[in-house]
């Protein structure tokens, strides 16, 4: 059953790529408008040295990891604090409610004003893209802990910081984990956009630059690359979550 499913998926992918290949080669016949998959890969590998390609991927990955690490840790810490201590919740609420609905991409111009065109502005925008979903799910996770868990712990004389660290935070973990994955996906989309608009390196820049040079095949290759890197990174994140949080929770 599992094998049959994978096999069907494989056939679907081959069919899709095959149809695209045929349509591009015999329908459009113009790789400047609709490159076939094989043409895209060939063109990219022939024009770009492998080392440069690795550099583009590496710089994008570094940006996303830096922004995600900052946004996730700030989101988890503040979200837990807001879910546990009422004053924190009350004070942070107006700021979060005003800033959260602003799409992360709308921060790009102001990030450039604040941090210039270099790395910090991109990392800041990814930070924001990650922070809000993580914060929201951490707060929700803390709020939806079953009260009897907390009461049971209190009867066993667990209180204060220990109650928070040993009981409440683990109980909120599944929600936090979901938030982390949503935050990563959002951060990745934001990264590509930030690189399109203002960057000299990175996968988003690769895609945009190729268009200006009229090499659409390389753009298509870059888009493949972006999808692949995001898919792999998301699966790694999911696996890491299953290894850690999954020990005491089922997903």
């Amino acid at each position: 059953m599992k094998f049959a499913e994978r096999f069907a998926g494989l056939i679907g992918v081959v069919l899709f790529l095959g149809l695209w290949e045929i349509a591009a080669r015999f329908g459009w016949r113009n790789p400047a408008i609709m490159p076939a998959p094989s043409q895209a890969v060939w063109m990219a590998l022939a024009t770009i040295p492998p080392l440069t390609l690795i550099e583009h991927v590496a710089i994008s990955l570094w940006r996303i990891l830096a922004g995600f690490a900052l946004g996730a840790s700030a989101g988890v810490a503040l979200g837990i604090a807001a879910g546990w201590y009422r004053p924190v919740a009350l004070i942070s609420r107006p700021f979060v409610e005003i800033l959260r609905p602003i799409p992360p991409l709308a921060w790009i111009p102001i990030a450039i004003v604040w941090f210039g065109l270099g790395e910090p502005s991109k990392i800041f925008v990814i930070f924001l893209g990650t922070f809000f979903p993580v914060f929201t799910s951490a707060t929700r996770g803390m709020a939806s802990i079953h009260p009897s868990i907390l009461r049971a712990a209190r009867t066993m004389d667990v209180d204060g910081v220990r109650l928070l660290a040993k009981v409440a935070v683990p109980a909120a973990m599944p929600d936090i984990a979901t938030g982390l994955r949503i935050g990563f996906g959002l951060g990745f989309g934001v990264l590509v956009a930030a690189e399109l608009i203002a960057a000299g390196r990175g996968m988003g820049h690769l895609v945009m630059e190729a268009r200006q040079l009229g090499q659409l095949g390389i753009s298509v290759f870059g888009i493949f690359l972006i999808g692949l890197v995001n898919l792999v990174a998301d699966q790694q994140l999911a696996a890491a979550i299953r290894r850690t949080v999954g020990r005491w929770h089922r997903f």
Binding site: G9, V13, P87, I98, P109, G189, A193, G227, L231
Partner: protein, 263 residues
């Protein structure tokens, strides 16, 4: 009673204190006005934007109107395509298995990375923006339509079969109403994606729309306009989402009741 009062007073007080500190720091010259224009300046800018407009006299309302037009065009197109295709894919297991990797991949492709393709295919005008919004909305809507069909309670379908209903009737009378709540919430999520994409799409090749307003203002060193524009996009998105949630609750009241019971 006291705690209810605190619930309102503390957040408002915190916000007021923050704005007052900001204003004071700007007046004292600690903050550079080009990076952090004071709140009073933002308020004046908001009024100017609403009546005089920027750039070339395009007011805030026109920008907002154009942005919502683009989002709706892309969103409606995507939903119209994705719902029938998704319902079909969801009800045919083989088709679902064959398309699953493609759907996962296309969802992982950051929508805005398609910008170069969109420009080549549709030019820098409206077409490219609607295409990008459509792409972002389509995959969200498509996968939630597939899930909507797959998650219909099989007992309902079996019950209909025992009552001798044919496949067409089952689809129309059982599967469609049972998947409607998930379709609606999928459409709402897709609209949220549209909001996300439009801001990026408008940053290139246009001077109309909220996304271009904030980008254009930056090139003129008008940080105040950028900030007011950002707040408007946020407020605007919030209003639309709120309205949609209300419409959803009104259209499928049975779902809201079910969720309340589960909690």
């Amino acid at each position: 009673m006291r705690s209810r009062l605190a619930e309102w007073l503390v957040p408002i007080g915190a916000l007021a204190l923050f704005l007052a500190l900001w204003e004071f720091a700007a007046a004292a010259g600690w903050l550079r006005p080009i990076q952090f224009p004071p709140p009073s300046k933002l308020a004046r800018t908001a009024v100017t934007l609403a009546f005089d407009g920027f750039p070339e006299g395009i007011t805030l309302w026109v920008h907002a109107g154009i942005t919502i037009q683009r989002i709706l065009a892309g969103h409606i197109l995507a939903v119209a395509l994705a719902v029938p295709l998704g319902l079909l894919t969801g009800s045919r297991p083989l088709l679902d298995q064959m398309t699953a990797p493609i759907v996962a991949f296309c969802r992982s492709v950051a929508t805005l990375s398609l910008l170069p393709l969109a420009i080549v295919w549709f030019g820098t005008g409206e077409g490219a923006k609607i295409f990008l919004i459509g792409y972002g909305c389509f995959w969200v809507m498509f996968s939630s339509s597939i899930a909507a069909v797959k998650l219909v309670d099989p007992v309902l379908i079996r019950a209909a079969r025992t009552m001798d209903a044919d496949e067409k009737t089952i689809f129309r009378q059982v599967i469609l109403p049972a998947s409607l709540p998930r379709l609606l919430s999928g459409a709402r999520v897709a609209l949220g994606v549209g909001f996300m994409v439009i801001v990026g799409a408008e940053m290139i090749g246009t001077i109309r729309g909220l996304g271009s307003l904030i980008m254009e203002a930056r090139t003129f060193y008008r940080t105040d306009i950028t900030m007011v524009g950002m707040l408007c996009i946020g407020a605007f998105g919030l209003c639309v989402m709120f309205a949609l949630a209300r419409i959803e609750a009104w259209l499928v009241p049975w779902q809201a009741k079910q969720e309340a019971q589960q909690q």
